[in-house]
């Protein structure tokens, strides 16, 4: 085991290096840049035996890794915000092609106004495309999740692309100590990719992606849906296997339970600020509040079973969102409400949009207000999301 103090972006690059990726293609965008700079350097130094394709756009970055994966290689790319939106067509094409590409998305607000700080709008636009979507909450988890992403996506039960989201700056540019298994051990655990026999190679005259009967399109989507469902098991297995094999921690699969089971009040969060939320939960527990937290690690497939189980003993849920679906609710809030199917009331708070800082003290007041509202029976306002903007006189619901 090697311990190094590294940033989230370097952790991604290190995971890519030890994973034995063969083709990398990317276009720089803040705050993802360090990932691609570091990987380019690894390739030039010969530390990573891969081809690095310096494309002219994100659309082409994803197109190039698509070509590489179609030819049988293990491929990786990374982007943020507008870069991800520019990739949008290719995102769906890759998922529908069932190619297990891994992509890091360093989350960043979408403009205008120009803003390089994090929220979750960019990553969540991928929601319905068929990518497995993970959200890391620490630099260690960025490393672990990136490495696990190859194993999960390439598993023959899955064969889907995997996105690893890490918060811009909060994780991408923040250094933390990270434990990394030795390269040789990783290579044993993650052998070279074994693609399905539909590689594009000379002398094999078949085509991939042809027109066909409409029923075939629907059948393929159904098979994809089943693969996504199977990925739940694979994500849990890989998490346990990785923890056991390398003596590292298990995160608990699709969601991380932080005192959630058997608590009355459940906070649901996703991403880096979950650490701040946990701190607030801890403090409130010390003060006697029966509150816990479920951190959504994988947004797709969504941990609805985990939420359902927790709801059996819970009184109410609070989903704190870093992205909102205009005309409805916070996106995580919507997902939590739909997973619970009315089994418990859900309050939805929207905070931290555009990178607005939300610290443990903010979470403390958000969570405390939620518990008090429930206990005083004043939950009628929960039918609409609450915007948390303490710097404004006007705001709230």
């Amino acid at each position: 085991m090697i311990r190094k103090v590294i940033t989230g972006n370097v952790a991604v690059a290190e995971a890519v290096r030890v994973s034995g990726v063969q083709v990398v293609s990317a276009y720089p965008i803040t705050p993802q840049t360090v990932i691609v700079e570091r990987i380019a350097e690894m390739v030039e130094r010969g530390e990573l035996k891969a081809k690095y394709i310096r494309v002219e756009s994100e659309h082409s970055a994803l197109a190039a890794v698509y070509g590489a994966a179609a030819g049988g290689a293990r491929a990786f790319t990374a982007t943020s915000s507008h870069g991800l939106l520019y990739m949008y067509e290719m995102l769906w094409w890759i998922a529908y092609s069932r190619l297990p590409i891994v992509m890091a998305v360093v989350t960043r607000a979408i403009g205008p106004p120009w803003n390089i700080h994090s929220d979750h709008h960019d990553a969540l636009t991928v929601r319905d495309s068929g990518w497995i979507i993970g959200f890391a909450s620490s630099v260690q988890e960025v490393f672990d999740m990136t490495l696990q992403a190859f194993k999960i996506g390439e598993d023959p039960r899955v064969t889907l692309p995997v996105m690893v989201a890490l918060e811009g700056f909060t994780l991408s540019h923040t250094a933390e100590p990270v434990d990394m298994p030795e390269e040789e051990l990783v290579r044993e655990w993650l052998p070279p990719r074994e693609p399905l026999p539909f590689k594009i190679e000379p002398g094999k005259p078949f085509s991939v992606g042809n027109l066909g009967p409409d029923e075939v399109s629907m059948e393929l989507r159904w098979l994809m849906w089943k693969a996504m469902e199977r990925s739940r098991l694979v994500i849990r297995d890989v998490d346990l296997e990785y923890a056991k094999g390398f003596g590292l921690r298990s995160y608990g699969g699709l969601g991380e339970d932080f005192h959630a089971k058997n608590s009355d009040y459940i906070v649901v969060t996703m991403g880096a600020w979950s650490g701040d939320a946990k701190e607030a939960v801890e403090k409130l527990r010390d003060e006697g509040y029966n509150v816990g937290l479920l951190r959504v690690r994988f947004f797709r497939p969504f941990p609805w079973e985990e939420l359902r189980e927790i709801s059996q003993s819970a009184k109410a849920f609070l989903a704190v969102d870093r992205a909102v679906s205009m005309g409805h609710r916070g996106i995580l809030g919507l997902e939590v409400s739909s997973a619970l199917e009315g089994k418990a009331p859900v309050k939805n708070v929207i905070a931290g949009i555009g990178g607005v800082d939300v610290g443990p003290e903010d979470f403390y007041s958000i969570i405390k207000a939620f518990i008090e509202e429930y206990e005083y029976g004043s939950i009628e306002g929960w039918s609409r999301p609450e915007w948390y903007m303490p710097w404004m006189e006007v705001g709230g619901k």
Binding site: V23, S25, S60, A63, G67, P202, G203, P205, S207, N210
Partner: protein, 303 residues
Amino acid sequence: MSLQRLALSKVKGILPGNPACMGCPHNMGLRVVGSVLGEKAVLVVPAGCTSIIAGNWPKAGIDMPLLHVPFASAAAVASGLKASHDILGVDSITIVWSGDGGAADIGFATLSGAAVRNEDILVIVSDNEAYMNTGVQASGTTMWKARTTTSPIIGKTEERKDIALLMLMHKVPYVATASVGYPTDFAAKLEKAAKIRGFKLIHLHSPCPPGWRFDSEKTVHIAKLAIETGAWILWEYGEGKLTISPPSKPYTDKARRKPIAEYLKLQGRFAHITEEDVKTIEENIEANWRLIRELEKIYSGES
């Protein structure tokens, strides 16, 4: 490569009964590509007529490995595919088979990027001078005055762009123009391109019967008229030299060219143009010849 040798190839490029229109120039071009490079070729095909010609699953219209890709992505997908072949030790000729839209318009940035990187791919632009697959809308390579469904009455108001010259200015090792009316010239250029490592582009002139509104048995006739009137110039750039190809050579002399009206009058898309328009087109053609002749001299070191 002779026509007889082309006919003997095991790989045919296209399969009988594929869904191409009658007289389709893409079918003619694909047949040559398959015959010359089929054994080692893999095709990357962006949205366009060939997305249809490739056939409806479970049937196939083309007997080469083929990857369908989104409209603007082809040269980048080919770059990645070729990279995977290099790394995995697969000997392939990675070919982008694109229309004018996929190469010159929506996919131009992608194409330019791949050229700048000098990717070891061969791009063939089968140019039928409009977006034919969506129903004959004007493209960046549609001729001035040509009627299309988005220039339906007065015709296109802008000049076309020259994709081959644009790619020549990218300083890539090989660029050529070709025509479906001259399969042996096209075949020779494919053979030459396949031997060069780096970025190669062949701009293939592909007259389209429904799009240009001429009878479907006249594709070759129209393609030949384009050469004989000088409207399309066959040239080749490789090893630092630019040369006008043998079929076009005689027409360097303006006096030997057939009148441009002979080419235009067979095409319904030009049915509305005036004598003056014909004169302007003729002048534009001569200007293009001057440019190519000058380039030939410059690259040969004569001027």
